[in-house]
Every structure is written in structure tokens, then in C-alpha cells.
């Protein structure tokens, strides 16, 4: 097993009702696999996950990105700073 930290921001944080969760995952889970697991834990994210942006260890990541033990994964909507 491996452990990853998942952070939620903006509307994802509000929908999940959580800023941060830690998950134990099978090795070599991808971002796409993590999204499936998150959907089971947080059904309220259903409408948001298709368009969500993902960062792994503070770099943009994509569905085929493979997670490693200790990864910090962040989920958030397209950015709107300025």
C-alpha cells in the first residue's frame, strides 16, 4: 500500500466538505484511478471531477500520471486569480 495526501480547493473544497484527506492506495494508482476512489468517498464531487485540474507534488498532472508513495495531490477548478 502507499499513502497519498489529497487537497481540495475552492468549490471542490466546499463540495467535498474537507480541505484534506489521507488515503491508502494500491501501488501504481493513476490520477484517473484516484478520481474513481474519490467519487466513492465524495459523491458530491461527481459534477466537478470531469473538469477538475490536478496537481501532483505541485506540478500539473493528468489522468495517466502515476502516483507514488507520499505524493501530495491537489484538486481544483481552472484558476481565477488576479
Amino acid at each position: 500500500m502507499m499513502n497519498v495526501k489529497v487537497l481540495f480547493f475552492a468549490n471542490l473544497r466546499e463540495r467535498a466538505g474537507s480541505r484534506q484527506v489521507e488515503l491508502d492506495l494500491a501501488p501504481d494508482v493513476t490520477v484517473a484511478g484516484l478520481k474513481k476512489i474519490l467519487l466513492e468517498k465524495f459523491p458530491a464531487l461527481k459534477d466537478y471531477l470531469p473538469t477538475v485540474l490536478v496537481a501532483v507534488d505541485r506540478e500539473y498532472a493528468f489522468d495517466d500520471t502515476v502516483l507514488s508513495d507520499g505524493a501530495e495531490v491537489a484538486l481544483f477548478p481552472p484558476v481565477s486569480g488576479g
Partner: protein, 152 residues
Amino acid sequence: MTFPTICSITHTEIDLDALLAQITLPSSGAAAIFTGMVRGVTTRGEPHETVYLEYEAYQPMAEAKMKQVADEIRRRWPVVEGIAILQRVGRLYPRTPTVLIACTAAHRDTGVFEAARYGIDRLKEIVPVWKKEISPDGEEWIEGDYIPKAGE
């Protein structure tokens, strides 16, 4: 001489004079400064009023991506000397400055205006900051439309 680069998420008021002092070198003769503020009354598009904006950031990634924007500016405009990129977060009311991009160079005709313009445009694409708009009628997260590509 090393060129100063300041990249920061801040919870306090943006101090333009202090920033300018930090990015002005003996060889600097021009600074292009962009600042954005909370607009209380919007007339373009769907006219509406804003009571305040609530900003949040993924701070460590935001500051790393600001640094990346600064690096991109330096690659495109090697004449740029100092760079400051700041984003204020928290609850910000109309007329309050929220973001600042400043670039210094020896002269104004060196591309320094374009460099600052590029900085704010890129910040709005890749720096993980979000804002929720609170209007008299309710609240809504503002969502961008840029999808970063691999390596951005």
C-alpha cells in the same frame, strides 16, 4: 549583479513603494507596473455589483508557479532586471488592489510593458488562486477557462 525576483502570496496590503525599491537596480530607469483591484460595479458583459471577493490560494504551488512565470519573462525579455509578482488573498472589498506585477528595465522601450502584460496573463492561466464573488444576490465561484498542458 543578480536580478531580484519576488514571488509571493500575501494576506496583507500590497506595498508598492517597498516592492519597487526591492526591484530597482542602479541600472534601472523604468518600471512597468500592472495592478488589478476589486471592481465594485461591472458594466461589461452581464452588468452586476460586487460586495467583495474572497480569494484563496494553494500557496506553495502558487509561489512556485509565480517563479515559473518570472523565469518565462526572463527568457522572453532578457533586458528585464527586477520582477515582482504578488497576489493578495482573503476577503477583499471594491477598490482594493489584489494583484501586482512589476518589471524593471534600463529603459521604457525595452519590452518592459509587454513583460508585465505577459506576467499578469500567465498568472491568470497557471497560478493556483481562486476567487468567490459575493454579490447582493448571492455568491459564486469564478472559474477560469485555461487548461494547463503537461510541463506548464
